[in-house]
């Protein structure tokens, strides 16, 4: 391929997104992230906002810098599969997490000690002798 052919062949290919605009969006989103971090919001709101902003930035990078917006759908399917699998992994971790989070709240445990049960303790079942 001659240089001229390379120019004519690739110029159309390069007439894609405005990368400077993407850069400005990414910088603004990063500045907003730092603002959210410094504002002292409640933890749930802070986490929700920061995760949403991070995903927005990640999508911008994937769609425009990595050209997913202009590529064939097949590549987008390859790109989305890890996202689906990691989401599935997070859901698989949920039962374990919810159990462990539950123990953090120090719910009053049911009374089992005979001394704490007052005047009418329940007698343990008699030992079975072989």
């Amino acid at each position: 391929m001659t240089t001229q052919a390379a120019i004519s062949g690739h110029e159309a290919e390069h007439s894609g997104p405005n990368y400077i605009a993407v850069f400005i969006y990414l910088s603004i989103l990063t500045a907003i992230e730092l603002g959210v971090y410094a504002m002292g919001l409640p933890q749930v709101a802070k986490v929700g906002l920061l995760v949403a902003l991070a995903w927005a930035k990640a999508v911008l990078v994937a769609m425009y810098f990595m050209h997913l917006a202009m590529e064939r759908k097949g590549l987008a399917i390859i790109a989305i599969i890890p996202v689906i699998l990691v989401t599935f992994l997070c859901f698989m971790l949920l039962p374990d997490l919810t159990t462990r989070m539950w123990t953090k709240f120090d719910h009053p445990r049911p009374v089992t000690d005979a001394a704490e049960m007052g005047a009418h303790p329940v007698a343990p079942p008699p030992m079975q002798t072989p």
């Binding site: 391929m1 390379a6 120019i7 690739h10 290919e13 995760v51 390859i78 462990r100």
Partner: protein, 205 residues
């Protein structure tokens, strides 16, 4: 030719139109995307494990108490800038502006080196003055593993981009091989993307 054979030939023609042949260019891109999908699973599993460990531990320290945000915000900005210089390098080689390509690729490499230098400075500070170590607790271990694994990727990207820069300087990389820069760009942008998530999950939350 029988009618059945004619129909079969027509079907092959339709399939050929819909599925372009795999050229070295798009085959390489497909290979890089497949690698990145696997790498994304590794990072995704590591970040999910970090989240699980953190949520399940009521005594998990606040990252703000240990980790400096100013340095890492600058590191984030440097990586975003290097992504822009990478796409500009790609655009330059695609339009056969080789001097411009070399300048932008050199800036991309410089961005990666700056990022690594700042990470080394941060680690030195945390290991020395803050007394953090991979052996102290899970907070320290997950921090060093995640940022270290990402740092290894940045180092790989710097080497990868340096090779393409040197090949461009010695005339071995021509506009006809611009797809090699595009494939390297995919890797470099992926490194940027992962850092965006690590910055949020490890430092900010």
């Amino acid at each position: 030719m029988s009618e059945a054979a004619a129909v079969e030939t027509h079907e092959h023609a339709v399939v050929d139109q819909l599925e372009p042949s795999l050229t070295p260019g798009n085959l390489g891109k497909l290979g890089m995307w497949s690698f990145l999908a696997g790498d994304a699973m590794t990072f995704g599993a590591a970040i999910a494990a970090y989240g699980a460990l953190r949520i399940g531990n009521p005594n998990w320290p606040s990252p703000a108490a240990y980790l400096g945000i100013t340095t890492t915000a600058i590191m984030t900005f440097i990586l975003i800038c290097s992504s822009v210089t990478m796409v500009e390098a790609l655009g330059s080689i695609q339009t056969a502006r080789m001097a411009r390509y070399r300048n932008f690729m050199a800036l991309t490499v410089l961005g990666g080196v700056l990022f690594l230098a700042m990470q080394a400075f941060e680690w030195h500070h945390l290991l020395g003055e803050r007394g953090m170590s991979i052996k102290v607790d899970l907070f320290d271990a997950t921090f060093f593993i995640l940022t270290g694994f990402h740092g290894c990727h940045v180092f790989g990207g710097v080497v990868y981009n340096s090779v393409l820069l040197i090949r461009g300087m010695t005339g071995k990389l021509t506009p006809a091989k611009a797809n090699l820069v595009e494939i390297a760009g995919l890797y470099w942008h992926f490194v940027d993307l992962v850092w965006i998530l690590i910055f949020t999950f490890i430092y900010l939350i």
